[in-house]
Amino acid sequence: MDNRRFDMKGIDMAWCPGCGNFNILNILKKALTELKIEPVELVLVSGIGQAAKIPHYLKTNLFNGLHGRSLPVATAIKAANPNLTVIAESGDGCMYGEGGNHFIHTIRRNPDITNIVHNNMVYGLTKGQASPTSQIGFHTPVQVNGVVLEPFNPLTVAIAFEASFVARCFAGDTEKTVDIVKQAIIHKGYALVDILQPCVSFNKVNTFQWFKEHIYYLDASYDPRDKIRAFDTAGEKEKLPLGIIYQSQDKKTFEENLVAYKDNKTPLYKREPLRSLKELMQSYRD
């Protein structure tokens, strides 16, 4: 297997040295390579932010769209061509802040896409304001007296919306995260992978060290199919559980529900659509 399949040459990466984003890129490439996905069949969709630059750093089709709007784009790409592997990937501000409404309604739709969130609990690119996941008391140039809003817990929320796959990982742990990302991509339906990611420039609280001290992995006995248990687990605050927190029973995907694919699995761009037009036009005569 060609391990370098997704590598790009001679690019200037705009991330800060030591940032958690680098290893997420590494993890993603590994997972994709192990799954034998071809770059031409992959589309990476992102929004705007530091995390959102990731599609530029690997070989892939990419749609680097607007801040907060990656999920509608990703949903539509998958719906227009279900043969593509579609990953929507962006930062916590992008997905849970500006993009909050798409986040919740995309879960309801259950498209067969993977939603990877680089959760650094801060707005990186705009220089350190609070994000929805920033912890209480986190000081920033805007939140001068510290964050007071209840942090957004993507896991409990996704479970409340009946997401079909909900996982949390840590950017500092390659092996386990590769495994979960692979499972998420394989999963049929919407899969959320929230990756805890240290931001060395703007988050001096939730550092590599802090994360290491505040995470633990769910063990083998944990049953991700039990929704109430999952909700309870997802809400834990002292130590943050990692792993597949929730996975629901087989659920139909958005694409499977579309009548456009009822008798015809061809991607839209390949079709000859006008056969029935005459008939439709006649209906305005009768």
């Binding site: 790409i77 390949k270 659509p273």
Partner: protein, 568 residues
């Protein structure tokens, strides 16, 4: 005033009372019976109660616009008259339950024919049959063959077989009553052979049909009057035509989905109205910088904000023209005739695909809710997609001369397709190379020159040697034309724009030829007039503007034009 041999019928009732059925059934019966007809409606933003009207005009010749005069007024319930008093004369025949209209009629001195629709209907079974009684009455008056009406009613209710018999009874009852009063109606137009095979569709249907004919196979939209009909129509046809039809959670999602769909090779449409469109500006700008095609149907209604949700206005032209931050080309179309709705929608998809720009099709409530019969619409030739199969080293934004870098789509060919909302290099990757910024901006803007080569010219009606030139755009086409023809002056012509932006280069020439120019718009600030001035420097200072939420009627237009002709 009108030189057309026509009869004007208005039905007035409450919301939720079934006027829509009357409209759907009666219009079609009349067409099948061989009448030329025009029909439109105006309605309140509520589900029940209030007062709504449907106007139907029938004629020997083809007609396609609203008149003010009412020859026959059917009032289906109490409170159905007050909003119409201004339009009633002693020649108006009012058909209603006498007690519903008596008091108000006293002052207006109009003729009442007492037909208690609801009582008749209740006798048959349910109040709702009143609509069918009304259809019957009108068929009787107009001497429509009862069998045509009956057959259509059967067809219409074929999915509710229980309802067929009672509706037939209601129709007959009405027909009988109508026949009795035939002689009260002075002139009735005659059926014309061949009309029964005409198409009868309203603006919404024309737009939807045009979209399908244009290869539309994806629609993502959020409901909003008066644009929702197009979403409904495409959803209904989704299975037959393989269309992905999705109601988005909001308008921002709608436009981003549509852009994503085009990126992946679909032909996507968004239908919306001003308030929804105002939320799509950022998305439009995204289409602009990524050069992703998109087609937007913008059905205008009076603003600002929620405004008058179910009324009509041409108030969003400037918004459509300037919406979205930064600078990028776009195309604006605005059909005047229902036929244009069909053809321009097809064109919109082709233009979007070819020039990789947003194409916005502006209609309005009056346009989408109006019907008239049309002899035929031609079927499109085989669909031509403009995207390419990519090669290995594909560059999405290849700096070729005319700016039209061939568009690839992911998964088709060996190349990778990268698009970016940031300024990007030829490969679609984010860049801070500021010299490249200029090149890529120039490339985007160059497409305007390419688009200019295919602009449809405005259409001149009337005398080529005009002294006074009327100028209009979009849905006012028919009413201006008919009013001008009624006025019948030799020195008058009318220039109508279906293609709004980029503005056709002949505009200045046309305006300069005139001694007097008059701009006519369904808005308060003459947005198209301002656009013309921006492009040509010419100030059209005779303005006919209407902004109470209603469309112009022919008579109104005539009198405004006459006033403008008299003014200095």
């Amino acid at each position: 005033m009108s030189r057309i041999n026509d009869i004007s019928i208005v039905l007035s009732g409450e919301a939720g009372q079934g006027l829509k059925t009357v409209e759907l059934v009666l219009n079609r019966i009349l067409k099948l019976a061989g009448y030329n007809l025009f029909a439109t409606k105006e309605y309140m933003s509520r589900i029940r109660g209030g007062n709504n009207t449907t106007s139907i005009r029938i004629s020997d010749s083809r007609i396609s616009t609203l008149i003010n005069r009412i020859d026959i007024l059917l009032v289906l319930n109490k409170n159905g008259l007050s909003r119409l008093l201004k339009r009633i004369t002693k020649n108006t025949l009012i058909i209603a339950r006498r007690s519903d209209v008596e008091t108000e009629c006293k002052n207006a001195k109009c003729q009442i024919i007492d037909i208690p629709f609801i009582i008749f209907a209740s006798n048959i079974g349910k109040a709702v049959y009143a609509n069918t009684v009304a259809v019957g009455v009108l068929c009787g008056i107009l001497k429509v063959k009862e069998s045509i009406a009956r057959d259509y009613i059967k067809k219409y209710f074929s999915k509710k077989p229980d309802e067929i018999n009672n509706n037939i009874l209601a129709l007959s009852k009405g027909y009988e009553e109508g026949t009795k009063i035939q002689e009260k109606v002075k002139t009735t137009p005659k059926p014309v052979s061949g009309i029964k095979d005409d198409l009868l569709l309203n603006g919404t249907e024309a737009i939807a049909l045009g979209a399908i004919a244009g290869g539309c196979n994806f629609i993502s939209s959020y409901p909003m009057s008066p644009s929702t009909g197009v979403l409904v129509s495409l959803s209904k046809n989704a299975e037959k035509f393989g269309i992905v039809a999705e109601q988005a959670e909001d308008e921002i999602s709608a436009i981003n989905m549509a852009i994503g769909a085009w990126y992946a090779g679909a032909r996507a449409l968004v239908t919306t109205s001003g308030g929804g469109f105002a939320l799509m500006g950022e998305g439009l700008s995204l289409a602009g910088i990524t050069e992703t095609p998109i087609v937007i149907h913008l059905a205008q209604r009076p603003g600002p904000a929620t405004g008058l949700p179910t009324r009509t206005e041409q108030g969003d032209l400037e918004l459509a023209l300037y919406s979205g931050h930064g600078e990028f080309p776009r195309i604006l179309l605005a059909p005047g005739r229902i036929e244009d709705g069909y053809y321009l929608m097809q064109k919109a998809f082709d233009l979007a695909d070819r020039f990789q720009v947003p194409v916005i099709v502006l209609t309005d409530q009056y346009f989408v809710d109006s019907y008239y019969n049309i002899p035929s619409l031609s079927l499109p030739a085989k669909l031509k997609n403009h995207f390419i199969k990519t090669e290995k080293n594909y560059k999405r934004y290849n700096l070729i001369k005319n700016g039209l870098s061939p568009r690839g789509i992911p998964g088709y060919g060996k190349g990778l397709v990268s698009v970016d909302s940031d300024e990007h290099d030829q490969k679609g990757h984010i860049t801070e190379d500021l010299d490249l910024r200029i090149k890529i901006t120039d490339k985007r803007l160059k497409k305007i020159a390419e688009i200019r080569k295919v602009i449809m010219p405005p259409v001149l009606t009337g005398n080529k040697d005009y002294k006074t030139l009327l100028v209009g755009w979009g849905s006012t086409y028919h009413v201006i034309k008919e009013a001008m023809e009624n006025i019948g002056r030799k020195d008058l012509a009318f220039l109508h724009y279906n293609w709004i932006w980029p503005l056709h280069g002949d505009t200045k020439k046309y305006l300069k030829q005139a001694k007097k120019t008059v701009i006519i718009e369904n808005n308060a600030t003459s947005q198209f007039g301002k656009l013309i001035r921006m492009q040509t420097g010419i100030d059209i200072n005779h303005r006919i503007l209407k902004y109470n939420g209603l469309a112009f009627s022919v008579e109104e237009m005539e009198s405004y034009i006459k006033k403008a002709l008299e003014a200095k």
